[in-house]
Symmetry: C2
Subunit: 350 residues, 2 copies
DNA sequence: ATCGGCTATGCAAACGTTTACATTCCGCCG
DNA sequence: CGGCGGAATGTAAACGTTTGCATAGCCGAT
């Protein structure tokens, strides 16, 4: 730790400036001296002091990721995507997750300030006011799955609406006419978008659909609870579409326990395509979200921002979702039914 | 970003030294001036420049976590535990995962040098030579689940041996006399320890056990493949103990597909207690590893190390594992059968 | 009333880099 | 042969903190 650039300079009989230039590959160093310097640096196991460097360059080569306390598999996939992209660009990754309340998230955001060149914010609760209050407006940021419609930041939201719309359409096309939708928690952005997709698909159908809305909260328990009620119900829907996979799985368990067969008695679909989905019995039909891609893409948007310090032309994007049909809604084999475009500007409000 | 300690000092009509003292809560500042300074700092939204600070304090308030590219749920749980503990201590968390080959891991380790006050290394492949080569010996480190027996670093290994021993014993006590063990990949530390536990339990039993070793590699596929072979086999074992849950689940799927009933025809057990385990059908009996606790505990060991800069007396610990009995091996309800001590020095070789 | 000691505050050095600017060296052209 | 230009190298300032030391008050005791 004690070996500094001065030690290298002394040992190589040059000035510190030359060492800096040689090691940073900058111009105006003879090949012979550069080689000598690099040799000494390696021999001494010299590692530049990053704090000193970023003090003067005003760059930390680090990006921050602010995440809520969220479902395990989603989280790990996202981090993996981000990390992969970060490494590819030589960036470090500072993570901060598990924020119960907004003030904790604010503190974490504040603490990151100055340690990072940019920040990735993912929170289904964050709004524009929160951001403008706690996020320096000079700090590049990319917002993932947030309701905040800020023109200042790039936002990257998965196509919750489109995915739910497509899945509902698929269920209707498969012949199901009475469909229940299990919602996510109230006030959650992803949840409300998925509900909207369901409702619109029902409304747009040429058939008369018997649609029911059942309130859930994204937890496996809430799905299980609803499943139990369905078992006891006399007028069961023919299909159930849960706003996420965890609830679908909870529901599936309750149905199986209650002797209701899936998909024979009730077809079942979820949302997210978490790894568990393909391992339950029967495997779960669901909407696939390319989570790792989302993370990678978010990081790249961010990196691009501080590479060129250019304001991005396109500041809102919606990675698409695919429908993955598995046995839980009647088909025998896995297959991808519908693939929306890979990425496109949001045009659905127009 | 532009607001520095000098701005605060000027605005509050004091010297920078006083601002520093006031903000760091150090001694010898009148309450009245301290309050004035803090007021100004807040008004100006002053955030200390962390690079400048750590340049002089030689502390970064950051710990690094070096992780292999590992199974999603394990990873996220571990990170969660680490993050929780880090936040509690006001430390930041720099993560680096997904290292295919050792040289990548080495590069990541090197790059972390100087950005962190200490590092958590988790890799089932890392050995002492690797560490001494790429890890500055002045940098505090905690090794998680590594085979390296270094007296220099604290190591924290889950009790793979004890867990496998206990589970095997449980299977034997449940009356199963022919048991197959599906191994993990060759050369993996966790895998070999679990195998050792199985073997020792079989050897120690008073009954004559018909034990079979089947080679797997921790992947769901390898478990599935073995399951298929079991389906076709004429002489099936009465119970199968897989070295991790993913293989157990793959095996379970193959058995179910082949019409072999679990647990009626074959009892099945896994290792890790990943969240999926309780959602498969039937729910999987397994060895529970408190992953988040492992992470939390590792971070605390590390933090303790650079709080006091004292060499720890106890440098090897083994968090215990519980056995979780679920329907896949015949019992009807979830229950925790055996709980080893919470944490203890490794004494099993004596 | 004077002095001693203690507390609040200020001054300035130091941390390890990068980089603008100065200097040196060398070869080439006039 | 002398100066000149460009490349290689050196010098030192700057980045924003913390902190040891100096200094200036202030209060109480003799």
């Amino acid at each position: 730790m004690a070996v500094t650039i001065k030690d290298v300079a002394r040992e190589a009989r040059v000035s510190v400036a030359s060492v800096s230039r040689a090691l940073n590959g900058s111009a105006n160093v003879t090949e012979i001296t550069r080689r000598r310097i690099i040799g000494v640096a390696e021999r001494l196991r010299y590692v530049p002091h990053s704090a000193a460097r970023s003090l003067i360059t005003r760059r930390t080569q680090t990006v921050g990721a602010l995440l809520p306390d969220l479902f395990g598999e989603f989280f790990s996939e996202l981090i993996r995507g981000i990390d992969l992209a970060a490494r590819a660009r030589g960036l470090h990754l500072l993570v901060s997750s598990s924020h119960g309340n907004p003030s904790e998230a604010a503190a974490a955001l504040r603490a990151m300030q100055g340690r990072v060149d940019g920040v990735l914010v993912m929170s289904p609760h964050v709004d524009a006011a929160f951001l403008s209050q706690h996020l320096s407006d000079t700090l590049p940021a990319v917002l993932i799955n947030t309701p905040a419609q800020s023109s200042q930041y790039i936002t990257l939201n998965i196509d919750n609406y489109g995915g739910a719309l497509a899945m509902t359409k698929h269920l209707i096309d498969s012949g199901f006419r009475s469909i229940a939708f299990i919602t996510g928690p109230h006030g959650n952005f992803d949840a409300s978008e998925r509900l909207r997709g369901f409702n619109d698909a029902v409304a747009a159908s040429e058939h008369r659909i018997d649609a029911t809305i059942l309130p859930g909260d994204f937890s496996e328990e809430s799905g299980h609870c609803i499943g139990q009620r369905l078992v006891e119900s006399t007028a069961r829907p023919r299909a159930v579409f849960a706003a996420n996979d965890m609830m679908a799985i909870g529901c599936l368990l309750a149905l199986t326990e209650g002797g209701v067969r899936v998909p024979n008695d009730i077809a079942l679909a979820g949302f997210d395509d978490i790894p568990i989905a393909r391992f339950v019995n029967p495997p779960l039909t669901t909407v696939r979200v390319r989570i790792a891609d989302l993370g990678r893409s978010a990081l790249e948007q961010l990196a691009q921002q501080f590479d060129a310090s250019n304001v991005p032309a396109l500041n809102e994007q919606e990675p698409s979702c695919d429908i993955v049909v598995r046995a839980s809604c009647g088909n025998r084999f896995d297959s991808t039914v519908s693939s929306l475009e890979a990425s496109r500007p949001s045009a659905r409000h127009t």
